[in-house]
Amino acid sequence: MIEITKDRIDVARIIAAVSDSGAGGIDVFIGTTRNKTQGKAVVKLDFEAYEPMAIKELQKIVDRAKSQWPILKYAISHRTGVVEIGEEAVVIAVSTAHRQAAFESCKFIIDELKKTVPIWKKEIFEDGDVWVAAHP
């Protein structure tokens, strides 16, 4: 399951989506909004996605993960719009028979997501905002 949503992500729902009677381990990564970046206070984040392409790119990442690890089920939810401090920006869950594959594939998915998936994060400060990683 892959989704991009404007609503707050219900982590329990994402975990339930990867529940499998053959699973021995589930790894879940939750990317949350930090209250500061490089020492500066962040008020909130604002995410924008090129949705159809983001879904396609996420599917490619999952396909690559599946070719490397025996994944039973996966679920990825990425939020768009304003995300308040402490809220979930992204939740990734993977179930596998043995735990090592769950850790490795979940980490692979979030690492690759940050490289190729067309989603953009704007950090909003008291005195302005900045598109993250836009400039060198």
């Binding site: 990317g31 392409m53 396609k56 990425h78 940050k114 989603i119 598109w131 836009a134």
Partner: protein
């Protein structure tokens, strides 16, 4: 050589740079993705200051040599920062 007309769609900081979500562009027939990028960078020098700028057509990243065709919707992908 006849002209082709395409639509440019921008996200994130690219949208801020072109000053809107979309713009129309007239290009020479047979032009490549990288040549189109050069034209955009001449028109909007701020693109040159980005860490990267990729192009997508039909929801797929395209290579530099990819030929641009009449009616294409060219999507500007500035450095991604999801997660």
């Amino acid at each position: 050589m006849s002209d082709i007309r395409i639509k440019v769609v921008a996200y994130g900081i690219a949208r801020d740079i072109i000053g809107g979500k979309e713009m129309a562009l007239s290009l020479a027939e047979g032009i490549s993705a990288s040549e189109t990028m050069s034209i955009l960078k001449k028109q909007f020098p701020a693109f040159d200051q980005l860490s990267s700028l990729q192009l997508a057509i039909n929801e797929e990243y395209v290579a530099d040599s990819h030929p641009i065709k009449e009616g294409d919707e060219l999507v500007l992908i500035p450095p991604v920062s999801g997660g």
